[in-house]
Symmetry: C2
Subunit: 310 residues, 2 copies
């Protein structure tokens, strides 16, 4: 059954693929089988992240990038991660809007993910979804995240190249935002560069780069785009390609992929250990300990010592 | 030594308190002792969260709230959580700027936290910092977070009352943001309400409230403030007090505190289990498994099965 679904997904059946992804996102029982089977086939796709504060036109830019890669003959998957929709499933709406635009293109697959219900963390689920798309045969996977928090930083750790998108004049907090995510960015993009203040924003970014400490010898280029018209997109595609070559040669790509493997092993390990403990001591005992901690009758350290003692 | 530090912190020595908080934030060896000792004294403070997208004037509003509570004779602690600064320690700058304003007030303590280095997650560290401030004798703890992602949602889970701050005309993505965090908000604030579009924003929020499903019977009020002048702040203080009374009577406060206790017990449990396993099988073996997973020679599930087998 699972094998059949995977076979159909691999043959280009988008509905089958959507069901495979849902199984992985919801951590259904068959998810482990799916990931076990697909894992050896991963590691081939080019994985590109696009992140930045809201209002930067990231979706439009990602659509443009997808179009450019499609013209190069690549099979493209877009994963739109929306950590700001933990409850309402707002990502679904975006899904439909985008789908209408490009539904007829066989070589393009679009998946929206909200934060809801990713028990192991959004970053972990995203990594698994990317692995599935990679193994199923998409040669380019574009991961788009809204926001600039730690969660987005964690999400984009799964990608090979991180594009940070800003726009001119985003307001007071933009300085802090830029400082925060600047260090994970491989390519800096000033989008909506036809707006007033683009020069200033680019100059600010350049200055921040000279102030900050680069993680590697790669110096992030600062590009200008107008996603609405497509201006600057070919340069962005070139910059991504240059970064990919550098990352392959310098060992940076391997380093990131090893970090991703470590995260996955560690999180599965934690799950397995906790499941074993719960089976052994029983849900009831854990819940009773929690109640005593909530009542301040017991401190949490003492509660854990008790539970681990057996 | 730890006891001495705690005693001095309790007597109002802010430098001693800062060192206690650093120990807790960095998970120093003495952190467990500190939290064990302080835990029974927690559960007394009123804990108020202020969250919302960047550019909403949250810091100014939090300063105003702090001033209002100080006038009521409360001892006030502000915890400014900045998930957008994972690396650069940008929060420190904010710390200094604020400190200059209010350093001379003995009844006010301000702590900024960046995302960097909270291995157990920012939400968990925030919960511990809040517990310390509560136990040490601050009667009001204001938790300010920048952003609207899942991480902020997790951070504000530790508070009794969540204020979501928006402003008129934040741009394209504001709809998605509001939909996402609306469900965790107990009080909705339209700040900078003297700007054009405030009526529209308030109306949008009201409409979204009627569309969304309320978690409880509490109906979040929609307030208008101008933090820069202090307008509307007394109403906000009253609304927070009303919510606190309702939460106490309805059992909502107990429910949230039990959830917080559960999170803390579960995360300590996971840490303890993983530490034990690492001691048993050795760091080397874990690292070798990770390397094989990174090379696609082994899938992560098989790796974990191997490690857990012993």
């Amino acid at each position: 059954m699972t094998g059949d679904l995977l076979a159909r997904a691999r043959e280009g059946d988008k509905r089958a693929l959507a069901r495979v992804l849902s199984a992985v996102e919801n951590d259904e029982p068959r998810a482990a089988d799916i990931l076990r089977e697909l894992y050896p086939k991963t590691g081939r796709a080019r994985i590109v992240g696009v992140t930045g504060p809201p209002g930067g036109g990231k979706s439009t830019l990602v659509n443009r990038l997808a179009g450019a890669y499609r013209e190069q003959g690549e099979r493209v998957a877009i994963v739109a991660v929306d950590p700001s929709s933990p409850f309402s499933g707002g990502a679904l709406l975006g899904d439909r809007i985008r789908m209408q635009e490009r539904a007829l293109d066989e070589g393009l697959f679009i998946r929206s993910m909200a934060s809801r219900g990713h028990a192991g963390g959004l970053a972990r689920t995203t990594a698994r979804v990317v692995n599935v798309l990679d193994a199923i045969g998409y040669s380019v996977v574009l991961v788009e995240t809204v926001g600039v928090g730690q969660e987005e930083v964690d999400v984009v750790r799964v990608v090979d190249t991180v594009c940070l998108v800003t726009v001119p004049g985003l307001g007071d907090d933009i300085q802090a935002i830029k400082a925060g995510v600047l260090e994970i960015a491989d390519i800096l993009v000033v989008n909506k560069a036809d707006r007033p203040g683009a020069d200033e924003t680019a100059r600010d970014l350049a200055q921040m780069l000279t102030l900050g400490k680069l993680r590697t010898e790669w110096k992030p280029p600062i590009l200008r785009t107008v996603a609405a018209t497509g201006e600057g997109v070919p340069d962005l595609v070139s910059a991504i390609a240059r970064h990919a070559i550098w990352a392959g040669e310098s060992g940076e790509r391997d380093r990131r992929r090893r970090d991703a493997a470590r995260s996955e092993v560690e999180s599965l390990l934690r799950d397995g250990l906790v499941r074993r403990l719960r089976d052994r001591v029983g849900e009831d005992r854990v819940e009773r300990a929690v109640a005593r901690v909530a009542d301040r009758a017991l401190d949490p350290y003492a509660a854990v010592d008790e539970l681990l003692e057996d």
